[in-house]
């Protein structure tokens, strides 16, 4: 009897422990997670915790002192340059390790190791896009250069010095929730991080969609719906700037009509289902001393990325005997990425140029070992990808590599609506280059010439690299390796059996759009087409039209400006798209036929001040109405059961209607009647009203409540309590303050080129990635209000300053 009881108790106890220790019963192992020694309570950082400490590492060559200010921004003072990178790696890891590893796992197509089989498609896509191949090529060049190799080696050693010190208790909470442990950092991971950014900024393509659209719409309609240059374009390089004639003549393939324009894909065509967010972009501008109150330039930059916690950026200062740079850094790579030193400031916006083309490859047989190229069969290189899957056997994926690059889609990986044909990818991101060298040189650049030497190392993702110096120079260069294209090359899928369709070279750097101390006294870029149609190269891309228009309009009227004016401009909510589009809606709607609700919302939109301010209801009504108009105008013409379908961009319909209200796509081809603009605008409004009405009834019609700005934790829905929801701020698409629901200015910076430099910055996050730290999301409220922190560009003399909140010291 007693023995039965004893055994029963033992079984109960073992059962309880099992339930609390495994992930098979509960989604998280509560025993491990809540235990004092191993669990999350170890991550509950005391509000007054000492953020400093003394550390000794044999890898260090000299002493390093780190001074943290009250915002937990580290100011690193190193006696030896390499030691600064070691400490940068150590501190990045201390505050952001899980994020660094998660992002580079994602880049390498290793998410299945963490989340199991639901990650396999994503991982295969990353592998087949050659992300690891690209990172290896970059690493090769990075390690061939003694400067960048030393920087990466030191950085990697610093990250690993931190990882080695970790124990079960001090692991970041995400490891505890997901149940794995960090592996050692490597230089390859830094390269992978840069390729992840490259994919975010230069990973978009529309080749399949365009091929499909050309076939279903015909050439004339295709050109109308997907024009290369917008009428209202306000280019980065002002119109009227003369361009040099290209030196290299291109050989245009002879069978374009049949083999290129006339291609007839049998059924469906592959579609890239893991595209980067099209809103990835940025604003930057610089005004010369002639337009500022102080007589010194002011440089501004705000990169628009998906907002996340932990944030993509980490703020810090690196001070060494050879350079002293401050700004936004990427946890994952050494150096300062957007910022300034004591002489110059630098910033970036995305060029948005198309640097990805697809070629249809004809394999000899299903083995995919040989493909037809010019004459007989050519052997493909083969890369066997091993995708480890949590709780399952490893997935093997054989990826053939052609002269163009990896075969992304084929019968084994057809894409969302693929036809099973093989498509190889030619992508500049696969070409080896040492882009880290650019930042290495920028961090220590003193002059415009230094800046030019630095940016020449950059190949992808194409950026508008903006520059200002304390001596008064301002400049911008759109820099990357951009392929030379004959007209229309790369818009559509190309034949992969004919070498005459390959890229024939690259645009020389000196022909990339650029400007230096222009007479206008300002330069700006906002992801628009860099140059007007007189630029003598064919440069397709994914461009915004309206932010460029409003920034240039505002800057042209800017005189006597202060940093405060520039901060206001970065937070400007004026909707220039609506300025052009609203009159069309109001003029053409049949208001007599509207009911009470319709007249009410029409009045709201008519009274709207054209600012996407938080409390305004006009932007919500306008956006719903315009999107509804797009839908009713194009749905019939683009109506097809075959995928993929691409909707024309907003500017296309707006510019067409500004040109001619009798636009050919207005008529609904499914009805016998001929519709006019009046009936379509009214129909669009009537269709939009139910959703507008339901928002109004829920009290969510105001722009901020409708938009519900959210900074998601990187695990998104799995960890919603780690996200920040319901941030009430303005902004939106086509607006300088580009904040949408979960996307927007990920770093705002204003640098006044005085002596010493006066700078301001803020980002929607916090320095600590730990959700149990008071520094986890500490900047978000200030960011949402459009406010900034005055940057403390610390000097040697400040070391005793009361602004030093915590100290870390490192020695060997």
């Amino acid at each position: 009897m007693r023995i039965t009881l004893f055994i029963l108790t033992l079984i109960m106890n073992a059962g309880l422990i099992y339930v609390l220790d495994t992930r098979k019963v509960l989604p998280v192992p509560l025993g491990v997670l809540l235990s004092p020694h191993e669990g999350i309570w170890q991550n509950a950082e005391a509000m007054d915790a000492d953020q400093g400490g003394d550390f000794r590492f044999p890898e260090l060559k000299g002493k390093v002192e780190v001074y943290f200010d009250a915002r937990l921004v580290p100011h690193v003072f190193a006696e030896q340059e390499q030691d600064a990178y070691f400490v940068q790696g150590f501190i990045h890891a201390r505050h952001r390790l899980w994020q660094m590893e998660f992002q580079t796992h994602a880049a390498a197509g290793r998410i299945s190791e963490i989340v199991g089989e639901k990650g396999i498609d994503y991982d295969r896509n990353q592998r087949r896009n050659g992300m690891v191949y690209a990172a290896e090529n970059a690493l090769h060049r990075m390690e061939a250069d003694p400067d960048t190799k030393a920087a990466c080696d030191a950085y990697t050693a610093g990250v690993n010095a931190y990882i080695t010190r970790l124990n079960k208790g001090s692991l970041p909470v995400e490891y505890k929730i997901l149940g794995y442990e960090p592996e050692k950092w490597t230089n390859l991971k830094s390269a992978l991080f840069m390729k992840a950014m490259t994919n975010d900024l230069a990973g978009f393509d529309r080749d399949f969609e365009f091929t499909h659209a050309l076939r279903t719409l015909g050439e004339e309609n295709f050109r109308m719906l997907f024009p290369e240059v917008a009428d209202s374009l306000s280019p980065v390089i002002p119109s009227g700037t003369p361009y040099e004639t290209p030196q290299q003549a291109l050989n245009i393939p002879k069978d374009l009509d049949s083999a290129y324009y006339g291609r007839q894909p049998a059924t469906g065509i592959a579609e890239n289902q893991f595209k980067p967010d099209p809103a990835n972009g940025s604003n930057n501008w610089v005004i010369a001393g002639s337009r500022s109150r102080s007589g010194h330039p002011i440089l501004c930059n705000d990169p628009h990325l998906r907002l996340s916690l932990p944030a993509i950026w980490y703020e810090m200062q690196l001070h060494t005997p050879v350079f002293n740079a401050y700004g936004a850094t990427f946890p994952g790579i050494p150096g300062v990425v957007i910022g300034f030193n004591q002489d110059i400031a630098f910033g970036f916006t995305n060029a948005g140029r198309d640097v990805r083309d697809y070629y249809e490859v004809r394999f000899r047989d299903r083995a995919r070992a040989e493909y037809w190229f010019d004459s007989p069969w050519r052997k493909a290189d083969v890369r066997i990808e091993q995708i480890r899957v949590k709780g399952q056997t490893t997935v093997l994926d054989t990826v053939p590599y052609t002269v163009f690059g990896p075969v992304v889609y084929d019968a084994s990986f057809p894409g969302k609506a693929g036809d099973g044909k093989a498509y190889a990818l030619r992508w500049v991101a696969h070409d080896s280059a040492n882009i880290l060298k650019m930042w290495h040189l920028l961090n220590r650049a003193r002059t415009h010439d230094d800046y030019l030497a630095a940016i020449s190392h950059f190949n992808v993702p194409g950026q508008n690299m903006i520059f200002a110096s304390r001596n008064g120079d301002i400049a911008l260069w759109q820099q990357a390796t951009f392929p030379l294209r004959w007209k229309d090359q790369g818009l559509f899928v190309m034949p992969g059996y004919d070498s005459s369709y390959m890229w024939q070279g690259y645009i020389p750097m000196e022909h990339n759009p650029h400007t230096f101390n222009p007479t206008e006294g300002y330069i700006s870029s906002a992801n628009q087409r860099p140059a007007d149609s007189t630029y003598p190269y064919f440069i397709p891309g994914q461009y915004d039209v309206y932010r460029g228009i409003i920034i240039n309009r505002k800057l042209a009227a800017t005189y006597d400006a202060t940093p405060d004016d520039m901060m206001k401009l970065q937070n400007d909510n004026y909707n220039v798209f609506a300025e052009y589009a609203r009159p069309i809606l109001i003029r053409h709607v049949d208001s007599a036929g509207l009911d009470d609700a319709g007249r009410y919302y029409l009045k709201i939109m008519g009274d709207w001040n054209l600012n996407n301010d938080p409390e305004q209801k006009g932007p919500t009504v306008f956006t719903a109405w315009w999107d509804s108009l797009q839908q009713v105008v194009y749905a019939d013409d683009l109506n097809t059961t075959e995928k993929p379908v691409l909707r024309p961009e907003r500017f296309v319909l707006l510019e067409a209607l500004l040109r001619d209200t009798a636009y050919r796509f207005i008529d609904d081809i499914r009805t016998p009647a001929t519709e006019d603009l009046r009936s379509m605008v009214t129909r669009a409004f009537r269709m939009a009203i139910p959703s507008i009405d339901s928002l109004e009834k829920k009290g969510r019609l105001s722009w901020a409540r409708n938009k519900n700005t959210t900074v998601y934790h990187l695990l998104r829905n799995a960890t919603m309590p780690f996200s920040r929801q319901g941030i009430l701020n303005g902004g939106g698409t086509h607006i300088i303050n580009a904040t949408t629901h979960e996307h927007g200015p990920s770093w705002r910076m204003v640098v006044h080129m005085t002596t010493p430099i006066e700078a301001y910055a803020v980002y929607p996050g916090g320095q600590q990635g730990n959700p149990g730290s008071p520094f986890y999301d500490s900047f978000i409220d200030k960011w949402a209000k459009g406010e900034y922190y005055r940057i403390w560009f610390m000097t040697e003399g400040d070391k005793k300053s009361g602004r030093v909140k915590w100290r870390m010291s490192f020695s060997s």
Binding site: F6, L10, I17, V32, S35, Y776
Partner: protein, 137 residues
């Protein structure tokens, strides 16, 4: 008195064990205390539970107070769908307490198996001698 002694010794064992062993060593701590200190099985469970409940919940409470409940609030929302961080502190205590309590219960039952002694006898001894902190040989 003996109950308090059991609570304190189990807590000490549990804390020390946690430094070197996985979290479930609290059950081991309970077992050892249960087998070592002669207690009625019910009392053994209660002392094991109380001990590690206080240890775990107390630790969690102190850490969370110093942290303004930032982490506990987020995890209470994540795990318990509740905005109350104290619930997570309580859950922490209950999990540790249950594991240790069952361990102590098993220890106590096991001890009585081996010694062949009836627990009531031990209780009588305890009651008559009044030596609650007496260590049985």
């Amino acid at each position: 008195m003996k109950f308090i002694f059991a609570v304190i010794s189990t807590a000490l064992l549990a804390y020390a064990g946690g430094i070197f062993l996985p979290w479930w060593s609290v059950a081991l701590a309970g077992f050892i205390s249960g087998a070592w200190l002669l207690q009625r099985p019910g009392t053994a469970f209660l002392s094991g539970f109380t001990s590690v409940f206080l240890l775990w919940a107390g630790f969690a409470f102190v850490r969370s107070q110093a942290n303004d409940d930032l982490l506990a609030t987020r995890f209470a929302q994540l795990i318990l769908k509740s905005d109350n961080p104290l619930l997570l502190v309580l859950l922490t205590g209950v999990i540790g307490g249950l594991s240790a309590g069952l361990g102590a219960l098993a220890g106590s039952l096991g001890r009585s198996l081996i010694s062949g002694k009836d627990q009531t006898a031990a209780d009588t001894l305890e009651a008559t001698s009044g030596a609650s902190d007496q260590q049985p040989g």
